[in-house]
Symmetry: C2
Subunit: 330 residues, 2 copies
Protein backbone atom coordinates (compact mmCIF):
# COMPACT_ATOMS: atom_id res chain seq x y z
CA UNK A 1 0.00 0.00 0.00
CA UNK A 2 1.20 3.47 -0.92
CA UNK A 3 -0.57 5.30 1.93
CA UNK A 4 -1.66 4.45 5.43
CA UNK A 5 -4.46 7.02 5.45
CA UNK A 6 -6.31 8.88 2.72
CA UNK A 7 -8.05 11.97 4.13
CA UNK A 8 -10.95 13.85 2.58
CA UNK A 9 -12.35 17.08 4.05
CA UNK A 10 -12.38 20.87 4.17
CA UNK A 11 -8.90 22.38 3.72
CA UNK A 12 -8.83 25.64 5.66
CA UNK A 13 -5.70 27.72 5.79
CA UNK A 14 -5.07 28.99 9.30
CA UNK A 15 -4.23 32.71 9.32
CA UNK A 16 -2.87 33.38 12.78
CA UNK A 17 -2.59 37.05 13.78
CA UNK A 18 -1.59 38.63 17.08
CA UNK A 19 -3.93 41.57 17.72
CA UNK A 20 -4.43 44.00 20.59
CA UNK A 21 -7.56 43.55 22.70
CA UNK A 22 -9.32 46.58 21.24
CA UNK A 23 -9.15 45.03 17.74
CA UNK A 24 -11.92 42.63 18.82
CA UNK A 25 -14.16 45.38 20.16
CA UNK A 26 -13.58 47.62 17.15
CA UNK A 27 -14.62 44.85 14.76
CA UNK A 28 -17.48 43.40 16.78
CA UNK A 29 -15.76 40.11 17.63
CA UNK A 30 -16.53 38.00 20.68
CA UNK A 31 -13.41 36.71 22.38
CA UNK A 32 -12.85 32.93 22.32
CA UNK A 33 -15.78 32.36 19.94
CA UNK A 34 -15.67 30.44 16.68
CA UNK A 35 -17.77 32.19 14.03
CA UNK A 36 -18.67 31.05 10.53
CA UNK A 37 -18.27 34.10 8.27
CA UNK A 38 -19.04 34.90 4.61
CA UNK A 39 -16.74 36.18 1.90
CA UNK A 40 -17.50 39.86 2.56
CA UNK A 41 -16.75 39.59 6.24
CA UNK A 42 -13.62 37.59 5.40
CA UNK A 43 -12.41 40.35 3.04
CA UNK A 44 -13.33 42.98 5.64
CA UNK A 45 -11.28 41.34 8.38
CA UNK A 46 -8.29 40.78 6.09
CA UNK A 47 -8.39 44.45 5.03
CA UNK A 48 -8.27 45.55 8.66
CA UNK A 49 -5.47 43.08 9.38
CA UNK A 50 -3.35 44.57 6.59
CA UNK A 51 0.09 45.32 8.01
CA UNK A 52 -0.15 42.78 10.84
CA UNK A 53 2.28 39.84 10.51
CA UNK A 54 0.26 36.76 9.53
CA UNK A 55 1.41 33.22 10.29
CA UNK A 56 -0.06 30.47 8.09
CA UNK A 57 -0.66 26.76 8.60
CA UNK A 58 -2.51 23.98 6.78
CA UNK A 59 -5.62 23.68 8.95
CA UNK A 60 -8.85 21.73 9.08
CA UNK A 61 -9.54 18.86 11.43
CA UNK A 62 -8.48 16.04 9.10
CA UNK A 63 -5.35 17.92 7.93
CA UNK A 64 -4.33 18.35 11.58
CA UNK A 65 -4.74 14.62 12.06
CA UNK A 66 -2.82 13.65 8.91
CA UNK A 67 0.03 16.03 9.76
CA UNK A 68 0.14 14.34 13.17
CA UNK A 69 0.22 10.90 11.56
CA UNK A 70 3.10 12.08 9.32
CA UNK A 71 4.99 13.21 12.44
CA UNK A 72 4.55 9.69 13.79
CA UNK A 73 6.00 8.22 10.60
CA UNK A 74 2.76 7.34 8.81
CA UNK A 75 2.20 8.04 5.12
CA UNK A 76 -0.87 9.94 4.15
CA UNK A 77 -2.66 11.56 1.23
CA UNK A 78 -5.09 14.46 1.42
CA UNK A 79 -7.86 15.68 -0.83
CA UNK A 80 -10.14 18.73 -0.65
CA UNK A 81 -10.78 21.92 -2.57
CA UNK A 82 -8.84 25.19 -2.43
CA UNK A 83 -8.93 28.25 -4.73
CA UNK A 84 -6.60 29.42 -7.47
CA UNK A 85 -4.98 31.94 -5.19
CA UNK A 86 -1.98 32.58 -2.97
CA UNK A 87 -3.65 30.99 0.07
CA UNK A 88 -4.41 27.86 -1.94
CA UNK A 89 -0.79 27.55 -3.04
CA UNK A 90 0.41 28.21 0.50
CA UNK A 91 -1.96 25.58 1.88
CA UNK A 92 -0.60 22.88 -0.42
CA UNK A 93 2.99 23.94 0.28
CA UNK A 94 2.44 23.73 4.07
CA UNK A 95 0.70 20.37 3.81
CA UNK A 96 3.52 18.84 1.78
CA UNK A 97 6.17 20.46 3.98
CA UNK A 98 4.45 18.63 6.85
CA UNK A 99 4.90 15.29 5.07
CA UNK A 100 1.37 14.83 3.71
CA UNK A 101 0.96 14.23 -0.04
CA UNK A 102 -1.53 16.66 -1.55
CA UNK A 103 -4.15 15.55 -4.07
CA UNK A 104 -5.95 18.86 -3.86
CA UNK A 105 -7.37 20.41 -7.05
CA UNK A 106 -6.56 24.13 -6.65
CA UNK A 107 -9.28 25.23 -9.06
CA UNK A 108 -11.95 26.55 -6.69
CA UNK A 109 -12.98 30.13 -6.06
CA UNK A 110 -11.51 31.61 -2.86
CA UNK A 111 -9.50 29.34 -0.55
CA UNK A 112 -11.25 28.75 2.74
CA UNK A 113 -9.53 30.03 5.82
CA UNK A 114 -9.74 30.39 9.55
CA UNK A 115 -8.64 33.81 10.72
CA UNK A 116 -7.37 33.16 14.24
CA UNK A 117 -7.02 36.34 16.28
CA UNK A 118 -4.76 35.87 19.28
CA UNK A 119 -5.06 38.56 21.95
CA UNK A 120 -2.30 39.24 24.52
CA UNK A 121 -4.08 36.95 27.04
CA UNK A 122 -3.54 34.03 24.56
CA UNK A 123 -7.29 33.76 23.87
CA UNK A 124 -8.10 32.59 20.34
CA UNK A 125 -11.01 34.16 18.49
CA UNK A 126 -11.74 32.25 15.30
CA UNK A 127 -13.49 33.25 12.07
CA UNK A 128 -13.99 30.50 9.54
CA UNK A 129 -14.78 31.19 5.91
CA UNK A 130 -15.42 27.92 4.07
CA UNK A 131 -15.05 29.34 0.51
CA UNK A 132 -13.77 26.82 -2.01
CA UNK A 133 -14.08 23.90 0.47
CA UNK A 134 -17.75 23.69 -0.37
CA UNK A 135 -17.04 23.35 -4.10
CA UNK A 136 -15.60 19.85 -3.78
CA UNK A 137 -17.34 17.31 -6.03
CA UNK A 138 -17.06 13.57 -6.63
CA UNK A 139 -14.86 14.18 -9.67
CA UNK A 140 -12.18 15.74 -7.47
CA UNK A 141 -11.51 12.54 -5.52
CA UNK A 142 -8.54 10.54 -6.90
CA UNK A 143 -10.04 7.10 -6.45
CA UNK A 144 -6.86 5.40 -7.67
CA UNK A 145 -4.94 7.00 -4.81
CA UNK A 146 -7.65 5.97 -2.36
CA UNK A 147 -7.43 2.42 -3.70
CA UNK A 148 -3.71 2.46 -2.86
CA UNK A 149 -4.46 3.39 0.79
CA UNK A 150 -5.13 1.25 3.84
CA UNK A 151 -7.72 3.57 5.30
CA UNK A 152 -10.08 6.37 4.36
CA UNK A 153 -10.61 9.14 6.92
CA UNK A 154 -13.49 11.59 6.49
CA UNK A 155 -15.12 14.28 8.61
CA UNK A 156 -18.78 15.05 9.22
CA UNK A 157 -18.41 18.59 7.86
CA UNK A 158 -18.49 17.11 4.34
CA UNK A 159 -22.26 16.66 4.68
CA UNK A 160 -22.87 20.42 4.56
CA UNK A 161 -23.21 20.66 0.76
CA UNK A 162 -24.50 18.25 -1.85
CA UNK A 163 -21.25 18.28 -3.85
CA UNK A 164 -19.16 17.45 -0.81
CA UNK A 165 -21.62 14.70 0.13
CA UNK A 166 -21.25 13.20 -3.35
CA UNK A 167 -17.48 13.33 -3.05
CA UNK A 168 -17.60 11.63 0.35
CA UNK A 169 -20.07 9.03 -0.86
CA UNK A 170 -17.92 8.21 -3.91
CA UNK A 171 -14.96 7.68 -1.57
CA UNK A 172 -17.05 5.58 0.85
CA UNK A 173 -18.36 3.36 -1.97
CA UNK A 174 -14.88 2.78 -3.32
CA UNK A 175 -13.60 1.98 0.16
CA UNK A 176 -16.50 -0.44 0.61
CA UNK A 177 -15.84 -2.15 -2.73
CA UNK A 178 -12.12 -2.41 -2.11
CA UNK A 179 -12.26 -3.50 1.50
CA UNK A 180 -10.52 -0.33 2.66
CA UNK A 181 -11.07 0.51 6.33
CA UNK A 182 -13.08 3.69 6.96
CA UNK A 183 -12.70 6.05 9.90
CA UNK A 184 -14.88 9.11 10.45
CA UNK A 185 -14.92 12.07 12.80
CA UNK A 186 -18.34 13.46 13.75
CA UNK A 187 -16.78 16.96 13.64
CA UNK A 188 -18.98 18.89 16.08
CA UNK A 189 -22.31 18.57 17.92
CA UNK A 190 -24.06 21.12 15.68
CA UNK A 191 -22.90 19.22 12.61
CA UNK A 192 -24.28 16.02 14.16
CA UNK A 193 -27.56 17.77 14.82
CA UNK A 194 -27.78 18.91 11.17
CA UNK A 195 -27.06 15.45 9.72
CA UNK A 196 -28.16 12.93 12.32
CA UNK A 197 -30.05 10.58 10.01
CA UNK A 198 -27.36 10.64 7.31
CA UNK A 199 -24.60 9.97 9.85
CA UNK A 200 -26.44 7.02 11.38
CA UNK A 201 -26.84 5.51 7.92
CA UNK A 202 -23.21 6.09 6.93
CA UNK A 203 -21.81 4.77 10.17
CA UNK A 204 -23.87 1.63 9.82
CA UNK A 205 -23.06 1.06 6.15
CA UNK A 206 -19.47 2.13 5.75
CA UNK A 207 -17.60 3.20 8.85
CA UNK A 208 -15.29 0.87 10.81
CA UNK A 209 -14.09 3.34 13.42
CA UNK A 210 -15.81 6.53 14.53
CA UNK A 211 -14.37 9.40 16.58
CA UNK A 212 -16.69 11.51 18.72
CA UNK A 213 -16.47 13.54 21.85
CA UNK A 214 -19.08 12.84 24.54
CA UNK A 215 -21.34 15.67 23.41
CA UNK A 216 -21.33 14.51 19.78
CA UNK A 217 -21.92 10.89 20.74
CA UNK A 218 -24.91 11.77 22.96
CA UNK A 219 -26.30 14.13 20.31
CA UNK A 220 -26.09 11.46 17.62
CA UNK A 221 -27.54 8.59 19.59
CA UNK A 222 -30.16 10.56 21.51
CA UNK A 223 -29.22 9.21 24.94
CA UNK A 224 -28.02 10.93 28.12
CA UNK A 225 -25.47 8.24 28.83
CA UNK A 226 -22.01 7.69 27.35
CA UNK A 227 -22.10 3.93 27.74
CA UNK A 228 -25.38 3.63 25.89
CA UNK A 229 -24.09 5.94 23.14
CA UNK A 230 -21.06 3.67 22.91
CA UNK A 231 -23.22 0.58 22.47
CA UNK A 232 -24.97 2.22 19.52
CA UNK A 233 -21.69 3.30 17.88
CA UNK A 234 -20.24 -0.14 18.49
CA UNK A 235 -23.21 -1.85 16.86
CA UNK A 236 -22.98 0.36 13.78
CA UNK A 237 -19.21 0.57 13.32
CA UNK A 238 -17.50 -2.15 15.36
CA UNK A 239 -14.93 0.43 16.48
CA UNK A 240 -15.36 3.76 18.25
CA UNK A 241 -13.62 6.29 20.46
CA UNK A 242 -15.58 8.65 22.67
CA UNK A 243 -13.29 11.29 24.14
CA UNK A 244 -14.26 12.50 27.61
CA UNK A 245 -12.17 15.67 27.89
CA UNK A 246 -10.29 15.84 31.17
CA UNK A 247 -11.83 12.50 32.24
CA UNK A 248 -10.05 10.40 29.58
CA UNK A 249 -11.56 8.34 26.78
CA UNK A 250 -13.79 5.31 26.20
CA UNK A 251 -12.81 3.15 23.24
CA UNK A 252 -13.95 -0.05 21.62
CA UNK A 253 -13.03 -2.36 18.77
CA UNK A 254 -14.22 -5.91 18.17
CA UNK A 255 -14.54 -7.68 21.52
CA UNK A 256 -12.58 -5.03 23.38
CA UNK A 257 -14.12 -2.10 25.17
CA UNK A 258 -12.02 -0.11 27.55
CA UNK A 259 -11.51 3.08 29.49
CA UNK A 260 -8.36 5.15 29.02
CA UNK A 261 -6.94 7.44 31.67
CA UNK A 262 -6.40 11.06 30.79
CA UNK A 263 -2.74 12.08 30.83
CA UNK A 264 -2.33 14.74 33.55
CA UNK A 265 -1.64 18.06 31.81
CA UNK A 266 -1.87 21.78 32.49
CA UNK A 267 -4.33 22.72 29.71
CA UNK A 268 -3.34 25.91 27.87
CA UNK A 269 -5.42 25.64 24.68
CA UNK A 270 -7.62 22.65 23.83
CA UNK A 271 -7.75 23.49 20.09
CA UNK A 272 -6.84 20.39 18.12
CA UNK A 273 -7.06 17.93 21.05
CA UNK A 274 -9.56 15.70 19.22
CA UNK A 275 -7.50 15.83 15.99
CA UNK A 276 -4.37 14.81 17.90
CA UNK A 277 -6.22 11.97 19.64
CA UNK A 278 -7.37 10.72 16.22
CA UNK A 279 -3.80 10.98 14.86
CA UNK A 280 -2.41 8.78 17.63
CA UNK A 281 -5.26 6.30 17.49
CA UNK A 282 -5.28 5.98 13.68
CA UNK A 283 -1.51 5.67 13.54
CA UNK A 284 -1.64 3.10 16.31
CA UNK A 285 -4.35 1.02 14.66
CA UNK A 286 -2.76 1.22 11.19
CA UNK A 287 0.64 0.20 12.54
CA UNK A 288 -0.65 -2.82 14.44
CA UNK A 289 -0.75 -1.46 18.00
CA UNK A 290 -3.45 -2.79 20.31
CA UNK A 291 -6.59 -0.73 20.93
CA UNK A 292 -5.16 0.10 24.37
CA UNK A 293 -1.82 1.31 23.03
CA UNK A 294 -3.41 3.17 20.09
CA UNK A 295 -5.70 4.93 22.53
CA UNK A 296 -2.84 5.73 24.88
CA UNK A 297 -0.86 7.14 21.96
CA UNK A 298 -3.84 9.34 21.06
CA UNK A 299 -4.26 10.44 24.68
CA UNK A 300 -0.59 11.33 25.04
CA UNK A 301 -0.57 13.18 21.70
CA UNK A 302 -3.66 15.16 22.76
CA UNK A 303 -2.15 15.95 26.17
CA UNK A 304 0.94 17.44 24.49
CA UNK A 305 -1.20 19.52 22.11
CA UNK A 306 -3.35 21.05 24.85
CA UNK A 307 -0.27 21.96 26.90
CA UNK A 308 0.58 24.64 24.29
CA UNK A 309 -1.15 27.18 22.04
CA UNK A 310 -2.32 25.89 18.65
CA UNK A 311 -3.44 22.54 17.27
CA UNK A 312 -0.12 21.03 16.18
CA UNK A 313 3.15 19.98 17.78
CA UNK A 314 6.58 21.12 16.64
CA UNK A 315 9.83 19.20 16.75
CA UNK A 316 10.46 15.49 17.24
CA UNK A 317 6.98 14.15 17.94
CA UNK A 318 8.10 10.52 18.01
CA UNK A 319 10.53 11.37 20.81
CA UNK A 320 7.81 13.26 22.66
CA UNK A 321 5.46 10.26 22.41
CA UNK A 322 8.16 7.68 23.13
CA UNK A 323 6.67 6.82 26.57
CA UNK A 324 3.89 5.04 24.67
CA UNK A 325 5.64 4.18 21.39
CA UNK A 326 8.42 2.38 23.25
CA UNK A 327 6.13 0.78 25.83
CA UNK A 328 5.80 -2.96 25.27
CA UNK A 329 2.46 -3.36 27.09
CA UNK A 330 -0.17 -5.06 24.94
Amino acid sequence: MRYDVFGLENPLIDLLVQVPDDFLARHDLKKNHMMLIDQNRHAYLLKHLDGFPIQTAAGGSCANTLLGIAQLGGRSAYCGKVGRDANGEEYIRKLEAGGVDSFIQPDGSVTGSTIILVTPDAARTMNTFLGACQELTAGDVPLDVLKASRMLYITGYLWDTEGQQEAATAALRTAGDEGIQVAMSLSDPFCVNRHREAFMDILDRYVDFVFANREEALELTGTDNTHQAMQALRKWCGGAAITLGASGAYVTRGDEQLYLDPIPTEAVDTTGAGDAFAAGMLHGLSSGLSLFQGGRLGSLFASKVIAKVGPRLEGDVRALLAPVLDDPRP
Copy 2:
Protein backbone atom coordinates in the same frame (compact mmCIF):
# COMPACT_ATOMS: atom_id res chain seq x y z
CA MET B 1 -31.86 -16.97 51.63
CA ARG B 2 -32.30 -14.99 54.80
CA TYR B 3 -29.92 -12.15 53.87
CA ASP B 4 -28.73 -10.55 50.67
CA VAL B 5 -25.45 -9.42 52.17
CA PHE B 6 -23.47 -10.47 55.24
CA GLY B 7 -20.94 -7.77 56.19
CA LEU B 8 -17.86 -8.22 58.33
CA GLU B 9 -15.63 -5.31 59.38
CA ASN B 10 -14.71 -2.65 61.94
CA PRO B 11 -17.77 -1.15 63.65
CA LEU B 12 -16.91 2.44 64.55
CA ILE B 13 -19.44 4.67 66.19
CA ASP B 14 -19.43 8.13 64.64
CA LEU B 15 -19.39 10.87 67.29
CA LEU B 16 -20.23 14.06 65.41
CA VAL B 17 -19.54 17.31 67.26
CA GLN B 18 -19.85 20.92 66.10
CA VAL B 19 -16.84 22.82 67.43
CA PRO B 20 -15.51 26.36 67.02
CA ASP B 21 -12.39 26.80 64.88
CA ASP B 22 -10.13 27.43 67.86
CA PHE B 23 -10.97 23.99 69.30
CA LEU B 24 -8.75 22.47 66.59
CA ALA B 25 -5.82 24.77 67.32
CA ARG B 26 -6.14 24.34 71.08
CA HIS B 27 -6.00 20.54 70.78
CA ASP B 28 -3.37 20.30 68.07
CA LEU B 29 -5.72 19.04 65.34
CA LYS B 30 -5.19 19.54 61.62
CA LYS B 31 -8.36 20.57 59.83
CA ASN B 32 -9.76 18.05 57.30
CA HIS B 33 -7.29 15.36 58.35
CA MET B 34 -8.14 11.80 59.33
CA MET B 35 -5.94 10.67 62.24
CA LEU B 36 -5.66 7.26 63.87
CA ILE B 37 -5.56 7.88 67.63
CA ASP B 38 -4.96 5.72 70.71
CA GLN B 39 -7.14 5.22 73.77
CA ASN B 40 -5.48 8.02 75.77
CA ARG B 41 -5.93 10.57 73.03
CA HIS B 42 -9.52 9.33 72.55
CA ALA B 43 -10.26 9.86 76.25
CA TYR B 44 -8.49 13.25 76.14
CA LEU B 45 -10.63 14.51 73.26
CA LEU B 46 -13.88 13.21 74.78
CA LYS B 47 -13.02 14.96 78.08
CA HIS B 48 -12.54 18.26 76.25
CA LEU B 49 -15.76 17.72 74.30
CA ASP B 50 -17.72 17.28 77.53
CA GLY B 51 -20.77 19.52 77.39
CA PHE B 52 -20.86 19.73 73.56
CA PRO B 53 -23.92 18.04 72.00
CA ILE B 54 -22.77 14.80 70.39
CA GLN B 55 -24.63 13.18 67.50
CA THR B 56 -24.05 9.44 67.00
CA ALA B 57 -24.28 7.12 63.99
CA ALA B 58 -23.30 3.54 63.19
CA GLY B 59 -20.15 4.13 61.14
CA GLY B 60 -17.48 2.15 59.36
CA SER B 61 -17.26 1.66 55.63
CA CYS B 62 -19.14 -1.64 55.43
CA ALA B 63 -21.84 -0.46 57.87
CA ASN B 64 -22.41 2.60 55.66
CA THR B 65 -22.82 0.29 52.69
CA LEU B 66 -25.19 -2.13 54.45
CA LEU B 67 -27.33 0.75 55.78
CA GLY B 68 -27.52 1.99 52.17
CA ILE B 69 -28.54 -1.47 50.96
CA ALA B 70 -31.24 -1.56 53.65
CA GLN B 71 -32.54 1.82 52.38
CA LEU B 72 -32.80 0.25 48.94
CA GLY B 73 -34.82 -2.65 50.33
CA GLY B 74 -32.04 -5.22 50.69
CA ARG B 75 -31.70 -7.44 53.76
CA SER B 76 -28.36 -7.51 55.48
CA ALA B 77 -26.52 -8.84 58.50
CA TYR B 78 -23.48 -7.28 60.16
CA CYS B 79 -20.72 -8.63 62.34
CA GLY B 80 -17.80 -6.95 64.11
CA LYS B 81 -16.64 -6.27 67.64
CA VAL B 82 -17.74 -3.50 70.01
CA GLY B 83 -17.16 -3.03 73.74
CA ARG B 84 -19.39 -3.62 76.76
CA ASP B 85 -20.16 0.09 77.02
CA ALA B 86 -22.73 2.73 76.18
CA ASN B 87 -21.19 3.40 72.74
CA GLY B 88 -21.36 -0.30 71.90
CA GLU B 89 -25.04 -0.47 72.82
CA GLU B 90 -25.73 2.72 70.90
CA TYR B 91 -23.91 1.34 67.85
CA ILE B 92 -26.07 -1.80 67.74
CA ARG B 93 -29.24 0.24 68.33
CA LYS B 94 -28.41 2.61 65.44
CA LEU B 95 -27.53 -0.25 63.11
CA GLU B 96 -30.79 -2.07 63.77
CA ALA B 97 -32.78 1.17 63.57
CA GLY B 98 -31.26 1.51 60.07
CA GLY B 99 -32.63 -1.89 59.07
CA VAL B 100 -29.45 -3.96 59.39
CA ASP B 101 -29.53 -7.07 61.63
CA SER B 102 -26.69 -7.03 64.14
CA PHE B 103 -24.66 -10.13 64.91
CA ILE B 104 -22.12 -8.14 66.90
CA GLN B 105 -20.70 -9.62 70.11
CA PRO B 106 -20.57 -6.63 72.48
CA ASP B 107 -17.90 -8.17 74.69
CA GLY B 108 -14.80 -6.22 73.66
CA SER B 109 -12.92 -3.57 75.61
CA VAL B 110 -13.70 0.00 74.50
CA THR B 111 -15.97 0.50 71.46
CA GLY B 112 -14.10 1.99 68.52
CA SER B 113 -15.20 5.41 67.41
CA THR B 114 -14.56 8.19 64.98
CA ILE B 115 -14.72 11.60 66.61
CA ILE B 116 -15.78 13.89 63.77
CA LEU B 117 -15.19 17.55 64.54
CA VAL B 118 -17.22 19.82 62.29
CA THR B 119 -16.05 23.44 62.22
CA PRO B 120 -18.33 26.32 61.13
CA ASP B 121 -16.90 26.10 57.56
CA ALA B 122 -18.33 22.50 57.36
CA ALA B 123 -14.83 20.98 57.30
CA ARG B 124 -14.65 17.54 58.94
CA THR B 125 -11.63 16.67 61.05
CA MET B 126 -11.67 12.98 61.94
CA ASN B 127 -10.04 11.04 64.78
CA THR B 128 -10.41 7.29 64.64
CA PHE B 129 -9.83 5.04 67.64
CA LEU B 130 -10.14 1.39 66.63
CA GLY B 131 -10.50 -0.02 70.14
CA ALA B 132 -12.56 -3.21 70.35
CA CYS B 133 -12.70 -3.55 66.52
CA GLN B 134 -9.27 -5.11 66.61
CA GLU B 135 -10.38 -7.76 69.12
CA LEU B 136 -12.54 -9.61 66.60
CA THR B 137 -11.67 -13.31 66.28
CA ALA B 138 -12.83 -16.21 64.13
CA GLY B 139 -15.08 -17.40 66.94
CA ASP B 140 -17.15 -14.21 66.70
CA VAL B 141 -18.35 -14.87 63.16
CA PRO B 142 -21.82 -16.53 63.06
CA LEU B 143 -21.11 -18.90 60.20
CA ASP B 144 -24.69 -20.20 60.22
CA VAL B 145 -25.92 -16.67 59.45
CA LEU B 146 -23.31 -16.28 56.73
CA LYS B 147 -24.47 -19.61 55.24
CA ALA B 148 -27.97 -18.14 55.03
CA SER B 149 -26.71 -15.15 52.99
CA ARG B 150 -26.27 -14.63 49.26
CA MET B 151 -23.10 -12.63 49.57
CA LEU B 152 -20.25 -11.90 51.97
CA TYR B 153 -18.86 -8.36 52.00
CA ILE B 154 -15.55 -7.63 53.73
CA THR B 155 -13.16 -4.70 53.93
CA GLY B 156 -9.38 -4.57 53.68
CA TYR B 157 -9.05 -3.02 57.13
CA LEU B 158 -9.64 -6.49 58.62
CA TRP B 159 -6.07 -7.41 57.71
CA ASP B 160 -4.61 -5.06 60.34
CA THR B 161 -4.59 -7.64 63.18
CA GLU B 162 -4.11 -11.39 63.26
CA GLY B 163 -7.43 -12.02 65.01
CA GLN B 164 -9.38 -9.99 62.46
CA GLN B 165 -7.55 -11.78 59.64
CA GLU B 166 -8.56 -15.13 61.12
CA ALA B 167 -12.16 -13.98 61.38
CA ALA B 168 -12.13 -12.81 57.75
CA THR B 169 -10.44 -15.99 56.59
CA ALA B 170 -12.99 -18.17 58.38
CA ALA B 171 -15.76 -16.24 56.63
CA LEU B 172 -14.01 -16.47 53.25
CA ARG B 173 -13.50 -20.23 53.59
CA THR B 174 -17.11 -20.78 54.50
CA ALA B 175 -18.22 -18.62 51.57
CA GLY B 176 -15.93 -20.62 49.29
CA ASP B 177 -17.26 -23.96 50.57
CA GLU B 178 -20.87 -22.87 50.31
CA GLY B 179 -20.64 -21.12 46.94
CA ILE B 180 -21.51 -17.76 48.49
CA GLN B 181 -20.43 -14.76 46.39
CA VAL B 182 -17.72 -12.61 47.95
CA ALA B 183 -17.27 -8.86 47.53
CA MET B 184 -14.41 -6.88 49.05
CA SER B 185 -13.47 -3.24 49.41
CA LEU B 186 -9.76 -2.42 49.39
CA SER B 187 -10.48 0.24 52.07
CA ASP B 188 -7.68 2.77 51.42
CA PRO B 189 -4.36 3.06 49.56
CA PHE B 190 -2.30 2.84 52.76
CA CYS B 191 -4.13 -0.32 53.75
CA VAL B 192 -3.38 -1.74 50.29
CA ASN B 193 0.26 -0.84 50.72
CA ARG B 194 0.39 -2.63 54.10
CA HIS B 195 -1.23 -5.84 52.81
CA ARG B 196 -0.52 -6.01 49.08
CA GLU B 197 0.56 -9.66 48.92
CA ALA B 198 -2.27 -10.87 51.15
CA PHE B 199 -4.86 -8.93 49.14
CA MET B 200 -3.62 -10.31 45.82
CA ASP B 201 -3.87 -13.82 47.21
CA ILE B 202 -7.35 -13.30 48.67
CA LEU B 203 -8.73 -11.61 45.57
CA ASP B 204 -7.48 -14.46 43.44
CA ARG B 205 -8.72 -17.24 45.75
CA TYR B 206 -12.00 -15.97 47.13
CA VAL B 207 -13.28 -12.65 45.82
CA ASP B 208 -15.86 -12.37 43.02
CA PHE B 209 -16.23 -8.59 42.98
CA VAL B 210 -13.73 -6.03 44.25
CA PHE B 211 -14.28 -2.32 44.93
CA ALA B 212 -11.35 0.08 44.64
CA ASN B 213 -10.81 3.70 43.83
CA ARG B 214 -8.20 4.49 41.19
CA GLU B 215 -5.45 5.11 43.73
CA GLU B 216 -6.07 1.81 45.52
CA ALA B 217 -6.23 -0.13 42.26
CA LEU B 218 -2.93 1.33 41.02
CA GLU B 219 -1.30 0.78 44.40
CA LEU B 220 -2.36 -2.86 44.50
CA THR B 221 -1.42 -3.78 40.94
CA GLY B 222 1.76 -1.71 40.70
CA THR B 223 0.86 -0.01 37.41
CA ASP B 224 0.38 3.65 36.48
CA ASN B 225 -2.66 2.89 34.34
CA THR B 226 -6.26 2.26 35.34
CA HIS B 227 -6.99 -0.06 32.42
CA GLN B 228 -4.06 -2.30 33.25
CA ALA B 229 -5.04 -2.32 36.92
CA MET B 230 -8.52 -3.35 35.79
CA GLN B 231 -7.17 -6.26 33.74
CA ALA B 232 -5.37 -7.59 36.84
CA LEU B 233 -8.45 -7.24 39.06
CA ARG B 234 -10.59 -8.85 36.36
CA LYS B 235 -8.25 -11.80 36.06
CA TRP B 236 -8.26 -12.39 39.82
CA CYS B 237 -11.91 -11.72 40.66
CA GLY B 238 -13.99 -11.77 37.48
CA GLY B 239 -15.78 -8.63 38.70
CA ALA B 240 -14.46 -5.23 39.72
CA ALA B 241 -15.35 -1.58 40.06
CA ILE B 242 -12.71 1.12 39.94
CA THR B 243 -14.19 4.47 40.95
CA LEU B 244 -12.65 7.48 39.22
CA GLY B 245 -13.92 10.31 41.42
CA ALA B 246 -15.40 13.14 39.36
CA SER B 247 -14.57 11.26 36.14
CA GLY B 248 -17.03 8.39 36.74
CA ALA B 249 -16.29 4.69 37.17
CA TYR B 250 -14.88 1.72 35.27
CA VAL B 251 -16.59 -1.59 35.98
CA THR B 252 -16.37 -5.17 34.80
CA ARG B 253 -18.05 -8.52 35.31
CA GLY B 254 -17.74 -11.62 33.16
CA ASP B 255 -17.54 -10.57 29.51
CA GLU B 256 -18.66 -7.03 30.22
CA GLN B 257 -16.33 -4.12 30.82
CA LEU B 258 -17.70 -0.63 30.70
CA TYR B 259 -17.30 3.01 31.58
CA LEU B 260 -19.91 4.80 33.66
CA ASP B 261 -20.52 8.54 33.49
CA PRO B 262 -20.29 10.52 36.70
CA ILE B 263 -23.60 12.07 37.73
CA PRO B 264 -23.14 15.86 37.67
CA THR B 265 -23.18 17.09 41.29
CA GLU B 266 -22.04 20.01 43.36
CA ALA B 267 -19.71 18.17 45.76
CA VAL B 268 -20.12 19.30 49.38
CA ASP B 269 -18.45 16.42 51.27
CA THR B 270 -17.08 13.30 49.58
CA THR B 271 -17.12 11.24 52.82
CA GLY B 272 -18.89 7.96 52.16
CA ALA B 273 -18.98 8.27 48.35
CA GLY B 274 -17.26 4.92 47.87
CA ASP B 275 -19.50 3.22 50.45
CA ALA B 276 -22.60 4.56 48.69
CA PHE B 277 -21.30 3.41 45.31
CA ALA B 278 -20.79 -0.08 46.76
CA ALA B 279 -24.31 -0.03 48.25
CA GLY B 280 -25.90 0.71 44.87
CA MET B 281 -23.73 -1.74 42.98
CA LEU B 282 -24.14 -4.60 45.49
CA HIS B 283 -27.87 -4.07 45.74
CA GLY B 284 -28.07 -3.92 41.94
CA LEU B 285 -26.09 -7.09 41.43
CA SER B 286 -27.89 -9.00 44.20
CA SER B 287 -31.29 -7.99 42.85
CA GLY B 288 -30.56 -9.02 39.28
CA LEU B 289 -29.82 -5.63 37.68
CA SER B 290 -27.30 -5.56 34.83
CA LEU B 291 -23.73 -4.43 35.50
CA PHE B 292 -24.60 -1.14 33.77
CA GLN B 293 -27.69 -0.49 35.90
CA GLY B 294 -25.99 -1.64 39.11
CA GLY B 295 -23.14 0.75 38.38
CA ARG B 296 -25.52 3.59 37.55
CA LEU B 297 -27.38 2.96 40.81
CA GLY B 298 -24.07 3.15 42.67
CA SER B 299 -23.08 6.33 40.82
CA LEU B 300 -26.40 8.02 41.55
CA PHE B 301 -26.30 6.97 45.21
CA ALA B 302 -22.75 8.35 45.52
CA SER B 303 -23.73 11.60 43.79
CA LYS B 304 -26.52 12.16 46.33
CA VAL B 305 -24.20 11.42 49.26
CA ILE B 306 -21.50 13.88 48.16
CA ALA B 307 -24.08 16.64 47.63
CA LYS B 308 -24.54 16.85 51.42
CA VAL B 309 -22.49 16.63 54.62
CA GLY B 310 -21.96 13.12 56.04
CA PRO B 311 -21.78 9.61 54.61
CA ARG B 312 -25.44 8.57 54.65
CA LEU B 313 -28.71 9.72 53.10
CA GLU B 314 -31.88 10.49 55.03
CA GLY B 315 -35.45 9.98 53.92
CA ASP B 316 -36.86 7.94 51.07
CA VAL B 317 -33.74 6.73 49.30
CA ARG B 318 -35.63 4.55 46.83
CA ALA B 319 -37.55 7.62 45.66
CA LEU B 320 -34.31 9.58 45.38
CA LEU B 321 -32.74 6.83 43.25
CA ALA B 322 -35.88 6.18 41.21
CA PRO B 323 -34.33 7.64 38.03
CA VAL B 324 -32.21 4.49 37.87
CA LEU B 325 -34.41 2.01 39.79
CA ASP B 326 -37.35 2.71 37.47
CA ASP B 327 -35.26 2.90 34.30
CA PRO B 328 -35.84 -0.12 32.08
CA ARG B 329 -32.53 0.13 30.19
CA PRO B 330 -30.54 -3.13 30.32
